[in-house]
Structures are given as structure tokens and as C-alpha cells.
Symmetry: C2
Subunit: 476 residues, 2 copies
Amino acid sequence: MSKSPETKEISLQVDVNYMMSEYLGAREGISREEIQAKNQEFQEAVRHLKNKRSEMVWRDLPYNQDQVTEQIISFARQKKDACENFVVLGIGGSALGPMAVQQALNHLYYNELPKEQRGGWPRIYILDNVDPERFTHLLDIVDPAKTLFNVITKSGSTSETMAQFLIVVRLLRDRLGDAYKEHVVATTDAVKGNLIKIAQTENYPLFYVPEGVGGRFSELCPVGLLPAAMAGIDIKELLRGAAYMDQWIESKDEIWENPAYLRAVLHYLAYRKGKNISVMMPYADSLKYFADWYAQLWAESLGKRRTLAGEEIFAGQTPVKALGVTDQHSQVQLYTEGPFDKVINFLSVGQFRNSVVIPAGYEDIPAVSFLGGHTLNELMEVERVATEYALVQASRLNATILLPEVTPFTIGQLIYLFEVETAYAGELLKIDAFDQPGVEEGKNATYALMGRPGYEEARAKLNARPVKEAKYILKN
Amino acid sequence: MSKSPETKEISLQVDVNYMMSEYLGAREGISREEIQAKNQEFQEAVRHLKNKRSEMVWRDLPYNQDQVTEQIISFARQKKDACENFVVLGIGGSALGPMAVQQALNHLYYNELPKEQRGGWPRIYILDNVDPERFTHLLDIVDPAKTLFNVITKSGSTSETMAQFLIVVRLLRDRLGDAYKEHVVATTDAVKGNLIKIAQTENYPLFYVPEGVGGRFSELCPVGLLPAAMAGIDIKELLRGAAYMDQWIESKDEIWENPAYLRAVLHYLAYRKGKNISVMMPYADSLKYFADWYAQLWAESLGKRRTLAGEEIFAGQTPVKALGVTDQHSQVQLYTEGPFDKVINFLSVGQFRNSVVIPAGYEDIPAVSFLGGHTLNELMEVERVATEYALVQASRLNATILLPEVTPFTIGQLIYLFEVETAYAGELLKIDAFDQPGVEEGKNATYALMGRPGYEEARAKLNARPVKEAKYILKN
């Protein structure tokens, strides 16, 4: 991908000082020696991950999408004017990535701005639940005839998305007849599954989820790129940022120099020392939904049962979403005085897109007037530093990723960094980071209860489950 | 409080079947015997909590606010027409309760509806961060001259809220001169603190946080009631629901009959068995922010360091926010196959406010067409049951609270239930559930770094902290 000469190549900074025993002491902190002692094992995992690269199709998304990127941009431009709303029908990876990127790079009240202040781009809604109230309420504010619906499911067998799709198609068809097709665009597998059949029959515009790219690793393919482009986000810069991060990662085999490997190793060792919780706490509203996106990536990739040397092991840190400074007034009490069971990850922003001065006032009340003359920007950063300080005083593991600015280029880096970090953590845990067998039981139970053909046996098994005891259900 | 005869008294249902060994087996489940063995201790805690009732001012909020409730309703009616926007300046308890209640009881896209579809009530924004982008962006969509700002801080020394307040006052004054006072209403302590001084001097309308009511227990006092009333929510019904729950709780001293005590005991025993995580997973978009409100209540109340018999103990389950069915595609893999380290709490809704039929279609594709004829309502509930089933199959502790309907009356119950449950859990853990000493270090560090007079020593200490080592900061 060619580089626009005017774009700065700003690198993320990965700061792990406060994971280390130098600052936190020997009991809680991780020592260089601990890492060195396992260096061979860690290097083995590096080699293993490198060998698997060709299987990990998502690794090459920053490089092999020139053509589809142009198609997406051209499609978005073509739809832009007629389209008041762009609604994603999707769940999981099809929703969390788009949400994170929209929140990061658009106005924080984007949908409430007049269209011209949105650069002429449509409002964006991401319908990631099947709550009947949410659906009904969305239709109260969105006119389907002025809306483009992007149905996203690789397999076309995601019950939630297909249910939404059936409702939307009926609605559009009743309103618009055959012209309804102008209002649908599908993102799905090119060959397999149910949605591709329908999309081809109905002749919807189509974008493909590349073979081998799973939901939670799909933000940098059309799953994420189309919704981003529909809001005027520079998707080439997103990909260029990801490529930049990939080159950084690939150029450093040494754990100590590699941001993804080092963060993964430290989380792995922390997990081994009983830190079964990983908090993601951006200090910026723009990065709020990165915590949600990370939560899926980390939980679904690493939360795995495996058998190792005959022993059954249940692995995985539980991700927790937080937001600075807001959650200082909600969670930090627990983080500083509660059990030593977590790692706190800060995302910090070097330079916000604007600055707000706190005016002087109430000079007779020093407990208020000291704020005057500072900026909100300073207050945000000071509070993050103060929280970090309090955590270190209490010997709590924490790490920081600094985004010097929030741009498509740095966001692309962040996505790619976390993806590789997760894949590498999977290597260390010796689990498959790319499957999700644990959702099958629930999925099959849903199919069974909804009467999907072929699930009669599962239904019988379900219906044979013990009835709940009334004594354990309390009502007034 | 008098009861409207037409209102149904619907009781919440608290279902703890799947916390019990009868279903989960002896290793993971909790047995009746385990509870009975400690029954004396639990009863002791019940008595202790009852004795403390007079200190817990929030316990009586459902009863002693007839007058202030009328004042709030009358104030809201008076402001309604002239006011396009109502903006809360507050953080922590001043924001999380209002957010949870708005989301529960209003249209899910409330702010995007035209005013007449909001019953003539203003849009509601809750500004719970000091992010300069958020502040600037809010002013892009909100005209201060058409806005009422509700500054909420008990002490008036909450840096975030007072910084927002200083900015807003300057902005309003520059635009409107002395008439700016029409656009401010303060909620604060009646006597102590900085905001009361300012509010009295400037003659703002005032509502009081009752003495002894802490932030996270303040939703049922004017902190929460005013924002709710400004969106047309029936605050008398909220309080009546809370009173109803209180009477239920107070009438049952027996653990097995008491929803708050039983849930607290089960969480306590689970925690003792290594479940250091408590997930709150509503299956309804309307209840989404109840998870956030609960997360503060549970974390800040129970996340405590204490010394017991000479030993230092660090207590507290970490609350995790999730949303059904959405997070089935994000977290449930971890919940079913990851470590046995959590309790999952479902909030389920009996009857949604509307119903959406999934139309038939694509009869040639049975993997899609089986959905036709069902409703989204069924799908939501089936998926919750399927997830519960999968968790039980994997021996994972889970419990459900059913709201037969989401109304101010049931929401009042839910708030009060969780508050008492938390207070009782505090008794079991032998900690003070009502303080938050662990946030002091960070707060003082913020004051010190922002140059507040009197914090010079703290600043010196901070500045003397070890410099971060460059080798632990990676950049490209």
C-alpha cells in the first residue's frame, strides 16, 4: 500500500515498567530473571507463531486488500448521498470492531450531528442484539427507505443476525417492492454458508470475509472496513497502521524489543501468578469501546479447556472493561485494596483533538479555585498518572499503551498489536486461540429450542433436564 | 407513600437453583448443608445489619421523601417546556444510577426522538468524564442557552465535577449574563462542602443529598430522582418499588426466604471457594447500564483491605459487565470453558414492552427458515435459557433475577435489592461497605499534581518517585 507523504508515522508506545519487580517488589512484580529463565520456551513460541503465519490469514489483511479497499471506498461514495442511515446487522466480531473504530475516529455524538457536520456521511447504528425493544425503537428513529442495511455473518447461520435480516427484508419488501435490494449489502463467506446463497439469488452487493478469518480477527477485512468507510474513515490509513505494527513486530524476535510478545509474556506470567483478571482501561472516551472489542478478543481466544499431559486445564484471564477517569469513582477502590488478582491496562492519549481550559473562579474557595487555569486535558492525564501511582504504591500490576494521537494510523496499530498479542498468548497457554468450541453447547441448545430441523435429539436432551426447585425461587 | 390503586404490585423473582450442588455437583455447587453449617454466623450478620439500620440513611429513602419528591416533580414540570436538554455534571454514583434508570425506563434512542415523542421532556446527557473531546463534542450538539445543567456533588470537592461546573458557568455567564442562573440546579450536601456555599451565594435552585447517603447508595435520593423526573419517569413508583422490596426483606429473617440475604450468602460462599469474579449479565438492552451501576456498588463497597486477627486481608469480588445475548458471542466461551472463577448473574425480563415477529422466508434453506414464525422475544429468552443450560452442563455457578416487567416499580425493587445485598455481603466479609479509603491515594495525588494548596508535601513525595526506565518503554 502506498504511503501518503503527508501522513506522520507515529508509533504507539508500550510501557511495561509497572509490571516489573523493580517497582512493585518481588512478590507482585515480574523480574527480568523470571522472563530470562523461560526465554527458551518463549522463543519456541515465537518460532511456532511465525511458522503458523500462513494459516493466520488475518495477518496479511494489511497487505492484500488493495483491490477490495478501492471497491469499498467506491461503494461508500456511491451510496453516501442517498443514505441517511447505515445499519449493521451483526453480532460479536461483526459489531465490536466497527463500534470501537467508529467511537475512536468519529465525533463522540456523531449520530446527533446534522448530516453536513458528518461530512455528508450517514448515521451509523450497530444492531448487535435481538432485543425486541431495541429493534422497535431503532425503527422509530430510522426510516428503512433511507437506510442501507449491512448484514454481516460469515456462515449465514448466526441466529441473531439472520433473524434481524428476515425482519428487515420483509419490512423493506413491503415498503419498496423489488427495489428493496438497493438497501441491503451483505458481508459473508464467498462460497460457503447460507447468506451467500441468498445474496447471490437476490443479487445484493457483496463483500467477502476472507476464508480463514474468524469473527474476532475480522476488523481489518470488509467486516470492519465497510462500516468505517461509510462514516468517512480513512480505511487505507487503518490498514497502513496495521502494516506498520506488523513490520515492527516481525522485525523483533527478541521478547524485550517486541511489543506484542512482551505484553503477552507479562500477562501470561501474571496469570500464572494468580492474576486471572485483565482490566482494559482507556483514558479517553474515544477509546471506550476498544475495551469491549479487546474483551471479546481476549476472552474468546484464550478462555479454553485443554488436556495437557492427561490433565484437564481451564485457561483464560477474564477481561474487564473500564474507563478513565470515570471508573476511578467506581472500580479503583477495588483495584487498589481488593485481592491481588488483576493486571490493569491503561490506554493513554498523548494529544487529544481539542483542548478545554478550566476558567478561574471562586478564589475564596481554594478547594475549587486550584483547578482554574488548567485544562481538562491536563486533568485527564494527571488523574491517570495519579491512579497509576496509587496502584504502584499498592503493588498492583499495571501497563500502559500510549497513543500519541488517535488517528486511523494509530488505531490500525492498536488493533494489530492486540491481535498478535492474543495469538502469542495462545501459544504460551498452548491452546488454540482461533476456535470457540465452548459456544457450541449453547448454540445447539438455541437451535433445539427454536425447532431447527436436525436438532431433535438435542431438544429431547434439553427437555429431560431437571426441573428447577421452587424452594430456590424466591418471590414476595 | 400512597399507592395508586391501578398499579400492579409485581414482585421480582430471585432464582438461585443453579448456585446449588443439586444441579452443579458437590465440587462447584453450594450445598444446603454448607449454608446451614454457618447459619448462626449468617444470622448474626442479619442482626448486626438490622441494628445498623438507623445509621444507613439510604435504607429509609423510600419513606421519608414525600415532600422532596413533590418539589422535584413540580420543579421538573416548571422547567420542562423551556428546556431542550438536561445535562448531569457528575461522576460515579451521581452518573451511574441516573444512566441505569434512564436506559431502563425510557425509549432506547430517547435523545434521538423528536421532543413530542419524548412526552415533551428534554434530552438527557450524563457527562461523567472530563475528556476534553467529550466536552467539546457535547457542546456541538447542545445549546447551553436551551439547557439545564444539574451539578451533582455532595462535597463539592470532586475535581471532575467542579472542573465541569467552572467551565459551564463561565460559558453560560458569557452568553447570558446574570440570567445564567436559570440554567443551573445543584444537588449537594445541605450544610457542608464547597458547592453549597456557591449555590447559596449564587441562588441556584437546590436539592440536597441527605446526610449519610454515600454516592453509590444515592440513586433513590434527589441525585437520581431529579434526572429521572426530568425525563418524565414516575419517581414515586421507583420509591414505592424500593419500599416494597424493603418490606419483603425486613419481613424475612430466615436466609432461605430473603432474596438479599440469600444472594449475598451464596456470593460470599462462592467467593470463599475461589470465585473472585461476579458477572452481571442482563438479557435486555434496557437493563444494560444496571450492570455498570452494580459494578460500582459491588466493587467500591466490597473491595476492601482489612486487618482481621492480625492478618491483612484483601477482599472483594471483581464485577464484570456483560449483556445478553450480545456477549454470548464474546464472553460465553470463557464462561463455559475458562477457569472456575466466577458467578454469572442473569437479569431476565418476563415481558418486553413490545414484540417483533420473525417472518417466514427462504423455505429452501432450513438453517434459516426455522426462525420464521418465532418472535425476537422468544429468541432472547431461548438464548438465555440455552446459555444457562450450557453453564450448568459445564458446572458453572449462575443465578437469575426475573423482572416480570421493566417498570419504575420493579426497577425500584432491583435497586433496593442490590443495595441491601451489598450491605449484607459487607457484613459477611466483615468490612465497612460504606467507605472508600482506597481512592484517597489517587485523589490526593491528583490534588498534588494539580497544585491544590495544602498538598505540597504529597507533591514532593510524588515527584520523588523513581523515574520509569527507558528499556521498559517500547517504541518503533
